[in-house]
């Protein structure tokens, strides 16, 4: 069926992986000006990405710019936020969608019911998301990894069901007629029915969040997170206030989730509880791990792949003929299969950071190793040596 072909060098993914690894090594040696060239290149690429000639290949079935905003851009933003929690601090969060929902609902509720204007409401949504992150984290972050997983999952469901059952915020009807972002005539952004301005807004948000995230990672906070991720007890002994830093990771992740919610709601005009299902949390987590938890380019790549592939599968003509029905129906099947396959072939993700890779080979990396994982005859030597 799948996943049995794990035999050394014959594995094509490993070669692709080596290519990624080489690129990363180059990056680590690169000079400042070389890095800036890459930054600018990436930004230019992001700005011309909605061009129709790219869209006809990337997304023949649906409007490409809209697809770039949701799911692709939104998933990226969420994945960067979740990466702070999962990738950097090594905490397992299965209910990240709750913060996305809080950001979206804050905008929707205060803007439609109380007439607040767009940007202050988005900021307020980010604030509320951070507060709820702290409220969720304070009693639960003392729990061990797996308990945290189920509690966060529960929190995500509590938020969704409460929204669904509370008439004050629309209940199952959701909230329609959410205002668009305020127009910005100064830079020619007019938020109407055309998707392009929202795309540029999304790019701007992603850039800001990336810069923020990278600065954090390189600061004392980032080092503390890495220490917690690798060995929480040792970190505590070395004087790192682990609980505070874990709470901070939760709050920052939540803020990014809240921001994503605000931008999404401003574009979508309508949100309902069904926009925020558990499966979205799982999908974002899958994006983070698939891309390479802890490494931003990897996480973004993961989010892109997970958001884009299912959209693309809708429109593969030869598949349509071969199957005799719409290949879109097989999207989730393939998505699930690919996840299993990827984890078997390259468990550290597409683009792992060197440090994370080493941690993973030691079988720690935040979540710790599986039980009953005793070296068998075909365990990698590196794993063996690390013990």
């Amino acid at each position: 069926m799948k996943g049995n072909g794990v035999t050394g060098n014959a594995n094509p993914l490993r070669r692709v992986g080596a290519l990624f690894d080489g690129a990363r090594d180059w990056w680590e040696r690169a000079k400042t000006w070389q890095r800036f060239v890459v930054y600018i290149g990436a930004l230019v690429f992001a700005l011309i990405l909605p061009a129709p000639w790219i869209g006809t290949f990337m997304s023949p079935g649906a409007d490409w710019t809209t697809v770039l905003i949701y799911p692709i851009g939104t998933y990226m933003l969420l994945a960067i936020g979740l990466n702070v929690v999962v990738g950097q601090a090594g905490l397992l969060d299965l209910g990240f969608v709750a913060f996305f929902a809080i950001g979206g609902y804050t905008l929707a509720y205060f803007a439609t019911e109380h007439g607040w204007s767009y940007w202050p409401t988005v900021v307020f949504g980010i604030f509320l998301a951070a507060v709820s992150g702290v409220i969720l984290g304070a009693p639960t972050l003392r729990l061990r990894g797996d308990y945290l997983a189920i509690v966060t999952l529960g929190f995500g469901e509590i938020i969704r069901i409460t929204a669904n059952n509370t008439d004050e915020i629309g209940g199952a009807r959701g909230i329609p007629n959410i205002p668009h972002p305020t127009d910005m005539p100064a830079i020619g952004l007019d938020f109407g029915v055309l998707p392009a301005p929202y795309y540029y807004l999304m790019v701007a948000a992603i850039v800001v969040v990336i810069v923020f995230s990278v600065r954090l990672q390189k600061s004392r906070v980032g080092r503390a997170w890495a220490a917690i991720r690798e060995d929480e007890d040792a970190a505590e002994l070395m004087g790192v206030p682990t609980f505070k830093f874990k709470l901070l990771a939760f709050a920052i992740g939540a803020m990014i989730g809240g921001l994503a919610g605000g931008i999404y709601a401003g574009k979508a005009v309508f949100i309902e509880p069904g926009t925020f299902p558990f499966i979205l949390s799982a999908t974002i987590l899958a994006a983070v791990v698939l891309g390479g938890a802890g490494n931003l380019p990897g996480v973004m790549l993961g989010a892109f792949v997970i958001a884009w592939l299912p959209e693309r599968f809708r429109e593969v003509e030869w598949l349509k003929e071969a199957l005799g029905k719409d290949p879109a129906e097989y999207r989730i099947l393939l998505f699930g299969g690919v996840l299993v396959l990827m984890m078997a072939l390259r468990p550290e993700g597409l683009l792992p950071s060197r440090r994370r890779k080493a941690e993973l080979h030691e079988g720690t990396g935040g979540m710790g190793a599986m039980g009953a994982e005793v070296a068998g005859p075909d365990t990698d030597v590196s794993t063996e040596a690390a013990k």
């Binding site: 079935g61 649906a62 409007d63 710019t65 809209t66 697809v67 949701y70 799911p71 069901i161 669904n164 059952n165 209940g171 199952a172 009807r173 959701g174 329609p176 007629n177 109407g192 029915v193 998707p195 979508a268 005009v269 309508f270 309902e272 069904g274 926009t275 719409d326 879109a328 129906e329």
Partner: protein, 348 residues
């Protein structure tokens, strides 16, 4: 546009077939302007609908839209249709709030839940003169809207009302059944779709609740009987703003029944006639020489014709002039049309 592959596809495919049939009949007449029908599968999801409609407007250059099938997606893209000046006629979106958005390009051919809810309640009051009613729903938008409308209408008729809701994904309704059994109502009305209605009805009957069970258009499907079991479903009352022809109909409906069977290879099901009528309203516009979104929309304001489902004319807010509710009942394991609510008589 609608949910062609998702969970509630059974409600969207028949109107799609109806629309395809209307367009094919028109194109077969070899008119000067042929109509091309492009289909979009939104799976009933608002976010899918959003990206599909953007493509439909900017790339496929559609001039009119039959759909969206559900109210959620209608809400999500109504604004875009308005800004893109694309008239739409939905065969099946029944949320009352849709007509209150001030959209001028939006229309529908069915009565909304605010009419359907009271339709069910008034019919039950007339047929069963209940003292106490229990209104149930799952937690989906359509379900809650319908249940609220029913409950309000019962209260207006001085019938005592109790309510409960459950999650659409729940499988054990024992707490709901307990509540209903404890309250011992004369009638039970459920707002929701057939999958949940079937499970609920079975568990209610198993729990010894014998009161008349009624529901709306979302549950009007043979799968209600399969889900609940023939014995439990017997006598269940279903109301719908839709007119589903059964083999024993006569007149224009008979012709429709036969043509539909020929073109789609199945008997007409829910909203098939409405899908046909929605398409017909656009076809009339095109026949009158209107080929842009704005002109078609102008034409829709004045159109008035004898549709297959009922006489059709749009109000200024896009609602149909005629909002008849039709009553059905499960008799011997089959859903049977009893007629418009004013005339229908329950059997047994």
């Amino acid at each position: 546009m609608g949910d062609l592959t998702g969970e509630n596809a059974a409600i969207v495919i028949p109107p799609r077939n109806g629309a395809v049939m209307a367009v094919n009949e028109y194109n077969a007449k070899n008119p000067k302007v042929k109509i091309e029908l492009v289909q979009y599968d939104s799976q009933g999801k608002a976010d899918q609908a959003t990206s599909l409609i953007t493509k439909a407007i900017t790339q496929d250059k559609i001039v009119a839209l039959i759909g969206p099938a559900f109210s959620g997606e209608s809400k999500a893209i109504g604004g875009q249709l308005e800004e893109g000046k694309i008239p739409s006629v939905s065969p099946s979106a029944t949320n009352p709030g849709l007509a209150q958005n001030g959209w001028t390009y939006w229309h529908r051919v069915v009565a909304n839940d605010a009419d359907q809810g009271p339709g069910i309640a008034e019919f039950l009051v007339k047929a069963k003169s209940p003292k106490k009613a229990f209104v149930l729903s799952d937690d989906q938008e359509y379900s809650v809207g319908l249940a609220d409308a029913v409950a309000k209408s019962f209260k207006d008729s001085n019938v005592a009302v109790e309510t409960d809701k459950f999650s659409k994904d729940a499988s054990d309704y024992s707490s709901t059944v307990t509540k209903v059994a404890a309250s011992n109502p004369d009638v039970i009305v459920f707002g929701g779709y057939y999958a949940q209605a079937g499970r609920l009805l079975k568990q209610l009957r198993d729990g010894g609740v014998k009161a008349t069970f009624a529901s709306g258009d979302g549950s009007l499907d043979q799968q209600l009987v399969t889900g609940a079991g023939t014995a439990a479903a017997e006598g269940a009352v279903l109301a719908c703003p839709c007119n589903i022809p059964t083999p024993d109909v006569t007149g224009a409906l008979k012709t429709f029944f036969e043509n539909y069977k020929k073109s789609a290879n199945v008997d007409p099901a829910i909203y098939a006639t409405e899908g046909y009528d929605a398409a017909t309203s656009f076809i009339k516009a095109v026949e009158a020489g209107n080929t842009t979104g704005e002109k078609i929309n102008e034409f829709l304001k004045t159109v008035s014709f004898e549709g297959v489902s009922k006489p059709l004319k749009f109000k200024a807010n896009g609602e149909p002039e005629n909002n008849a509710i039709f009553i059905y009942q499960v008799v011997d394991g089959k859903v049977k049309l009893l007629g418009p609510a004013e005339e229908a008589k329950l059997e047994g």
